[in-house]
Symmetry: C2
Amino acid sequence: MRASNLLISTLKETPADAEIVSHQLMLRAGLIRRLASGLYTWLPMGLKVLRKTEAIVREEMDRAGAQEVLMPSVQPAELWQESQRWEKYGPELLRITDRHQREFCYGPTHEEVITDLVRQEIRSYKQLPVNFYQIQTKFRDEIRPRFGLMRAREFLMKDAYSFHLDQASLQETYDNMYATYSRIFSRIGLEFRAVQADTGSIGGNASHEFHVLASSGEDAIAFSDKSDYAANVELAEAVAPQGERAAASETMTVVETPAKHTIDDVSQYLNKPASQCLKTLLVEGVEEGSVVALVVRGDHELNEIKAEKHPLVAAPLTFVTAEKVLEISHANIGSVGPVGLTIPVIVDHAAAFVSDFVCGANQDDKHLTGVNWGRDLPEPETADLRKVMAGDPSPDGQGHLEIARGIEVGHIFQLGENYSSKLNAVVLTESGKSQIVTMGCYGIGVSRVVAAAIEQNHDDRGIIWPESIAPYQVVLVPVNAHKSVRVKEKAEEVYQQLLAAGVDVLLDDRGLRPGVAFADMELIGIPHRLILGERGLDNGMIEYKNRRSGDGEEFAIYDVVNIIKQKLS
Amino acid sequence: MRASNLLISTLKETPADAEIVSHQLMLRAGLIRRLASGLYTWLPMGLKVLRKTEAIVREEMDRAGAQEVLMPSVQPAELWQESQRWEKYGPELLRITDRHQREFCYGPTHEEVITDLVRQEIRSYKQLPVNFYQIQTKFRDEIRPRFGLMRAREFLMKDAYSFHLDQASLQETYDNMYATYSRIFSRIGLEFRAVQADTGSIGGNASHEFHVLASSGEDAIAFSDKSDYAANVELAEAVAPQGERAAASETMTVVETPAKHTIDDVSQYLNKPASQCLKTLLVEGVEEGSVVALVVRGDHELNEIKAEKHPLVAAPLTFVTAEKVLEISHANIGSVGPVGLTIPVIVDHAAAFVSDFVCGANQDDKHLTGVNWGRDLPEPETADLRKVMAGDPSPDGQGHLEIARGIEVGHIFQLGENYSSKLNAVVLTESGKSQIVTMGCYGIGVSRVVAAAIEQNHDDRGIIWPESIAPYQVVLVPVNAHKSVRVKEKAEEVYQQLLAAGVDVLLDDRGLRPGVAFADMELIGIPHRLILGERGLDNGMIEYKNRRSGDGEEFAIYDVVNIIKQKLS
């Protein structure tokens, strides 16, 4: 492509309303433009990236045996009423009334439509399993659209839905989709993790989120440095310490801790590591009016999601009032401890492993030191109550956890019979009985992948595209071609050679000053840059620069096709 | 693709609500399924056709130098208010209110959005001309959706918009798009005509419709048998007869024509050809209360669109009441004629060329014979008032007109400054002045092309796809493979050979009875069928049948790849 035939709308300034890097760079590089809140037009340069991403997704879904369909974006309310989501879904569902006053929505997802199709077209177990997908514009009426395409209202989505006679078949397709998603994100060239996820409002049994790692990510992810294990930090299991607890070596002693209410204060004041000071937190119990004490190490953080799953603890997790703390422990918050409490005490595995620990004395401005489980108070009831930390052993027994931030770009679910039972999607089994089908669903936010790729791949000069989805693989910049016929002619020759060799090359024939052209191409993020000028031409040489490494080199013009093809492969 | 991995949902019965062939066959062949009124899901087999059609459109638009973009489907009301279409557009525009009570629409077309983009991104004449296109789902809230995808509410559209400094540049891109559309429909393999069109409500200067010829078409088209000339029958010029009118040879005579009111009656009764009997029609004139007489040959039909464009005639064309006819001509309808009328008389070119003609005598049940212009009444004021007929000379002087029915699948417009002036889309000219840009727009109904292709290409057994958009080029049917290992193995071998040769082949491994499988594949319309059975295998032969011609042949299995590749090229 010749740059003179392409809308290249780069901006020098960072638009004020763009808060995150991908949004800023997509605007600055001229990939997208805002039409209205949460609505963006893809300009030619950006659409090339989107289409390349879409093509990889489509190829891998086809390879996995999924069948592409295209469902209407506008869906009748009746189906959503059947699944009971019409009322439940909330205002993110863009509801529409047509000219005949019939109700519809602009689909944010298509479980109802595909289940309706399947209950009509699939009658026999012989037709199962089946996996349908589509790549389609979806709409979610976000209350506060932001971050450009990361949280837009209109976005491109790949959604897939599989149907099965039994759980084993669902699991097989689920595993296939897990592998397919891994291939897709690997092929695009992204660093990602498949993360065990909560199934949330959509319901169902098993679920993984696929996160692109990036410091700007909304979610913290814990993953093993030695295996594929990854989980949302909120959900990752904190492995209980192995082996024997150290024997008690101190005597339990009451010490004065005047005005020392935080772990840091107490730890410093008593010169004990935070890991040896235990925190005691009082929360509402599941029985009306009851209170439960939760104990974690001072250097650990209570995981509220884990805590509220404990059978004795009320969900959502609710800390009791200051008055209640005083009533139960006879001390104010900051001096509470497990010794002598008459309410249930649940202790995190790691806290239960500490000997000679420090804790509140249940007297204001006093703490206990040298406390030991099984001696100064009963052996505790233990549970996993804390958030994992970097360096914790990985729950799968392989390696240790690292923690990074991630952007969710894909999600796979085992929905089970959630939709198929409500919509009565049945097939005849081999024995001729009617049976509800079981279902999985699999999404990729295609436009979000593009934004996430930028979050992961950029520097202060702009985007650094993975080659697989770069708008162009190579840009060829002739220097001062308007002044030099031979530069212009040679550039044209090299351009044609690269095109003929199947290289996706952009010829920057805009006649800009070299510095301006270079800055544009670095902002846009073309992986490979060739520069052809008078000086090099004298020696038959062409300059090359790699966008990611910044490394430059020179090589003979006659060799350009070979060398570029090597670099691309 | 193996048929066992593909949803093939053929129907034996024609669905009751499908009125036209393409709708019936798309349902029966399992290409689409109805979700709600005017909303269809594309099943895997249908989507393959749609995607192939889309790919051809995209390739040719790219080749023509147009740049692909993707605009939001949901558009803010403000832009439509700026162009004054928010109120004008009518209830086909699906209006949407978001959660913040802001008004939007689901775009049926994107003139406003693209003009808004251009006024922000294009500042200089140097950036012009530019041509942006997108391939996108659009929505039109038809009052009575029908005919399947031919008049659906949601449909796939290729829309393009070009911007220019002047009319000459617009004309150049318009001509380019004309040629591009011709290439697109030729490549798809459709018989089509580019038809001069009225510019209708969208406004502007010049416009062509592209029609796929099919007997079920909504529009009648006149086209030359010798040139590219084509026009809607309503708009095609009826060329005035050349040369001298024959000299008068009869005397004007009043004859009794009791109860003969129609041209057919009179022509038969007087034994004169209808072409020699003139019809006189009284219509309202442009001046309040005035009446104008329009005269056409008895074998010709008044073209109301042409008539109402005459400066003396009121638009819309309105025939005067029976009382008014009597008041003006002193006779009832059926006996009116031009002789002696005191109102303006406008005569079609062909009627003015007739000598010794018959016409109403302005007395009930009487006609005049042997009437001659310039002798019995003044030489007439002439105009083009009639519809063209098959056999008329082509207006471009080349050949004669044929008339066929067509389905509009594409439309190109010169919009001029219609939108750009309302939205104030200006650029700086070479001399530094601000100038409104001029604009063209170019649409193809991609999903409609698929339906039109079926209307043009089918027989009583089903669809006959043009090879370019067939879901599969070749189907290979092994006969009774479940009973014969060697048939199964050989079929697999041939299937792999064809795949390796890049042939888009479907292996029908469903194990159906041969007749059922053949009927399915004929209904679906795969262009080439291969049949492999025990009998052929004995002689090393494979059977072939062409879907379109119905011709069958046998050839050696070892030669199958070569022969199929020949047939495909």
